[in-house]
């Protein structure tokens, strides 16, 4: 009886509290990133005679984008493995998701290094550079947090807190939601920041 009371986190909408909380959090995160994307669009023409969006390496970023997009596939396959009670499949795809996230982060950091060292595009070079680095860096922080959560899930599957009988499925689904959210934010950033020509934005 005590266990049932302790495990009755259903809301009136028949959704677990954790899941409802995650969706509310993701809704608020849309506003968070919406604000930074808006600021970027306002400041993109203000390059202060420094480098502008022409320094972006579209082929390189396209590969990074593709990797992050495919990490979302790996994430749903990890969740499907969990729902099928196949812990081995869950571990494999969770690890693959985290590794793809790390590759994306590595690629982005490499790109930042080139911007700073080769193109002279520093954080305080211009309003454009500041808004660009703040927007994309916040996204990277979110990816890094996602990788940490994935690593934790993977580790938990060895300690018995995530099990083939379904224990821990909610946690996996919520981390998955977060990961897909990070992906959809990048889908928007990739188009707005990298693909749409600046002169048309302004």
């Amino acid at each position: 009886m005590a266990t049932e009371t302790a495990h009755a986190p259903q809301t009136n909408f028949n959704v677990s509290n954790e899941k409802m909380g995650m969706w509310a959090f993701l809704g608020s995160e849309l506003l968070f990133f919406g604000a930074f994307i808006t600021v970027y669009l306002v400041y993109v023409p203000r390059t202060a005679d420094g480098p502008g969006p022409e320094v972006f390496d579209i082929p390189f970023t396209s590969v990074s984008t593709f990797i992050l997009l495919m990490s979302s596939l790996a994430m749903v396959l990890a969740l499907a493995g969990m729902q099928d009670g196949d812990l081995r499949r869950f571990r494999t795809w969770t690890l693959a998701t985290a590794l793809m996230g790390l590759v994306f982060l590595g690629g982005q950091l490499y790109e930042f290094t080139l911007f700073v060292q080769q193109d002279g595009l520093g954080l305080t070079t211009s309003a454009f550079s500041t808004s660009f680095y703040v927007l994309t860096s916040f996204h990277k922080v979110h990816v890094a947090v996602g990788v940490l959560m994935l690593g934790t899930l993977w580790f938990m599957s060895f300690t018995g807190r995530i099990r083939a009988d379904g224990q821990g499925t909610n946690a996996v689904e919520n981390v998955g939601l977060y990961w897909h959210f990070v992906d959809i934010i990048w889908i928007i950033i990739f188009t707005v920041v990298y693909l749409i020509p600046v002169d048309l934005v302004t």
Binding site: T3, E4, H7, P9, Q10, F13, N14, V15, S16, K19, M20, W23, A24, L26, G27, S28, E29, L30, L31, F33, G34, A35, I37, T38, L41, V42, I58, S62, T65, F66, L69, M70, S72, L73, V76, L77, A80, Q83, R163, D165, G166, Q167, T169, N170, E173, G176, L177, H180, F181, D183, I184, I187, I188, F190, T191, V192, L195, I196, P197, L200
Partner: protein, 109 residues
């Protein structure tokens, strides 16, 4: 015993009235996303090569919305989940849109 009970209860909460796409469907969605991304990049280069912006920009925006919707509806299961979760997410989207609209208006004027 308690652990098994907990796990069953969690599975029940998780799976209530939910349809989950098959792994084959997930691969199909991923393939569509990859194709849409390739088309986006193609449109970018077409724009660089001189294609009219009146074609490339709306094209890029439509493709982005398509990708966004595919991930949210299928990978995030919003298509198969409770309507209240839909609303929570849409409220965030509307607020973000309103914020952009206000800033755009202030900037333009």
């Amino acid at each position: 015993m308690t652990d098994t009970h907990d796990a069953q209860q969690e599975q029940d909460q998780q799976g209530q009235h939910q349809y989950h796409p098959s792994t084959g469907e997930y691969w199909q969605i991923a393939a569509i996303l990859a194709v849409l991304t390739a088309v986006e990049i193609g449109l970018y280069y077409a724009g660089q090569a001189g294609m009219a912006a009146s074609v490339t920009i709306p094209g890029l925006i439509i493709l982005t919305i398509l990708k966004f919707v595919l991930v949210v509806l299928w990978f995030m299961h919003l298509r198969f989940d409770r309507p209240v979760l839909n609303r929570l997410f849409i409220i965030g989207l509307i607020f973000a849109g309103v914020l952009y609209g206000i800033v755009a208006l202030i900037t333009l004027t």
